[in-house]
């Protein structure tokens, strides 16, 4: 199993009702349904991904986070709201975070770290926008329009009264190295955050 899925599934209790924002081809939800007895929905806009979800029996709703938000979901209607590798692709990640923690008791977010040493090094050395395995696009065609660093994300959480319950930092292959744990903002490529409202347990 992919190490990031291994980490995420530990936080999903059996029978949890989950919402997966930008669920892709449904790999994660499919796994959570089968292995953790979870229920729920994925939201997706990519047509091929939607078709794949339907083919594997993952309930998927075609919905654009940027234009439609999550207004169609009731407060607290999910145990967990997931967003893996999509935060950097939405227009207003700050609002999406608010919405995640409105409709879910907690949230799980993963995104690429723009402060990873290789990206810093690439920019410093070549003077051009960095590309990496986690960010494999040119500056002009990337879907990743809101890049941030782990420090940026955590500052936003503090400002919003969002509590970080857990954080695991991994490299591009989702491996959890001890060095990345030591200097996450420099050596971590992807972080898996588990967040909740300050007043939630």
């Amino acid at each position: 199993m992919r190490p990031d899925l291994e980490i995420i599934q530990q936080w999903i209790q059996p029978g949890y009702h989950v919402l997966d924002l930008g669920c892709g081809d449904g790999t994660l939800l499919d796994y959570l349904q089968r292995e953790r007895g979870a229920s729920g929905f994925g939201l997706e806009i990519n047509p091929e991904h939607i078709t794949t979800c339907m083919s594997r029996g993952v309930p998927v709703i075609e919905q654009n986070l940027d234009t439609q938000g999550l207004g169609n979901f009731d407060d607290g209607s999910f145990d967990t709201v997931l967003m893996t590798q999509a935060l950097q692709a939405v227009r207003r990640p700050d609002r999406v975070l608010d919405e995640m923690l409105r409709v879910g008791r907690d949230g799980i977010v993963t995104f690429p770290n723009f402060a990873h040493w290789r990206l810093r090094w690439g920019l410093a050395l070549s003077g051009r926008m960095p590309e990496s395995e986690a960010l494999p696009y040119k500056w002009y065609n990337t879907p990743n329009i809101r890049l941030c660093t782990f420090k940026d994300f955590e500052a936003l959480c503090r400002q919003k009264g969002i509590r970080i319950k857990s954080r695991r930092v991994v490299d591009g292959q989702h491996q959890n190295s001890w060095l990345a744990r030591l200097w996450p903002n420099l050596l971590g490529e992807i972080a898996i955050y588990r967040i909740t409202r300050e007043n939630e347990q």
Binding site: I50, M54, S55, V60
Partner: protein, 382 residues
């Protein structure tokens, strides 16, 4: 029929008439003591009868959903694009059942059938039928065919309403409900269009309060107008524009009231053909069934509460240019399913043809429909 049958056609098919002589109680309080249902089936029912798919027709549809009746038939059944070997509803894997609903005019008992009590056509005495009544009669049909549980109930438009009603009335008797280009209830605007259609029919002087059969007449003009209004609402402005634009039949304006624009002559032609093959009382009845449909009605308008009864999984599809039943109406239905924690998948298909898009194959529509039905087939071991 074309010169040679396409490889993905179910081929030449024959409808059969099934007679039921146990009375069926209807929502309006009346009962039919006995009735016929005309049915077509495609594919083979498997040993445990788990691969059956019910196709529900829309307003003017009937049992002939796929294939050809004879060598003379020019066009195949109304949903031939989606039913057949290798098509979304794959007849190599599914046993497909399609019927003409009660109140219809293509062989099933309806206003133009003989009322055994009087020896004359029912006409306006035929009871008003609801979507729930259709579903009830379809459940009796399933009993007759030895089908305890449908792998899926599938329908577009008014057919989608039946697929939805099935999930509420017989939650244990279907695994999947596929609701395409439909709505959880009609809007005032929808009902208004239906009322214009009904007024067109009832104000035709050959209508004779629905007893036109007794006079050997057909309210053709009214039916034609009703169909013209309906037809406009099933297409989109863009698709009409593309098909006809402002094209004239002749080169120049004639400053009169004959059909000068191509679109006028097309609508008249369609209306006239329809008035030759459809029964006016059936049109009234079917549009009323549309108007009355509202599964949330018994739950204080709370659709999510109604849907809590359902046990099946849902696929809901809408079309971007459908202004008769807009994507927003499908989303309303999907949101109620989400609130009721039902398993639902939803996609809005980008297609230019308005409401009629559900009858026209587009790659995106075909891909999604195929992927979903492929999984349904795998689930029942096909």
């Amino acid at each position: 029929m074309p010169d040679s049958l396409p490889a993905d056609s179910v081929g030449v098919v024959a409808p059969q008439t099934l007679h039921f002589d146990t009375p069926i109680e209807l929502a309006c309080g009346q009962a039919l003591d006995s009735y016929d249902l005309v049915v077509e089936t495609y594919g083979q029912l498997n040993a445990d009868a788990s691969n059956a798919v019910l196709i529900c027709h829309a307003l003017s549809g009937h049992h002939h959903a796929a294939g050809y009746h004879s060598a003379d038939e020019r066009k195949p059944g109304w949903w031939d694009s989606c039913i057949g070997p290798g098509k979304p509803i794959d007849t190599n894997r599914f046993f497909v059942v399609s019927l003409n609903n009660l109140g219809g005019c293509h062989g099933s008992t309806g206003p133009n059938s003989i009322n055994p009590a009087t020896g004359k056509p029912y006409g306006p005495d035929f009871p008003v039928i609801t979507v729930g009544d259709w579903v009830k009669s379809q459940a009796l049909l399933a009993d007759r065919l030895g089908i305890q549980c449908w792998a899926a109930v599938v329908g577009g438009s008014l057919g989608g309403m039946q697929a939805l009603q099935w999930s509420l009335d017989y939650p244990e008797r279907l695994k999947h409900s596929v609701v395409i280009a439909s709505t959880p209830r009609l809007t005032a605007q929808n009902i208004a269009f239906n009322e214009v259609a009904r007024q067109a029919i009832t104000s035709d002087r050959e209508f004779h309060d629905g007893r036109y059969y007794d006079f050997g007449l057909v309210p053709r003009r009214g039916l034609m107008l009703a169909r013209m209004v309906g037809h406009i609402t099933y297409l989109s402005d863009a698709s009409m524009g593309e098909k006809f634009g402002r094209e004239l039949r002749d080169q120049a304006y004639k400053f009169g009231y004959d059909a000068e624009f191509q679109v006028e002559s097309y609508l008249r032609y369609q209306g006239e053909r329809f008035s030759e093959s459809f029964d006016a009382n059936t049109y009234l009845l079917m549009t009323k069934a549309l108007d009355y449909f509202d599964p949330a009605y018994d739950y204080g308008g709370d659709l999510a509460r109604a849907l809590a009864e359902a046990r099946c999984e849902f696929l809901v599809l809408s079309f971007s240019t459908d202004w008769r039943f807009t994507p927003a109406r499908s989303e309303e239905l999907v949101n109620a399913m989400i609130a009721a924690r039902r398993k639902v998948s939803y996609s809005e298909i980008d297609a230019p043809w308005g409401h009629d898009a559900f009858l026209i194959p587009t790659p995106r529509y075909t891909d999604i429909f195929t992927a979903y039905m492929d999984r349904v087939a795998r689930e029942v071991g096909q």
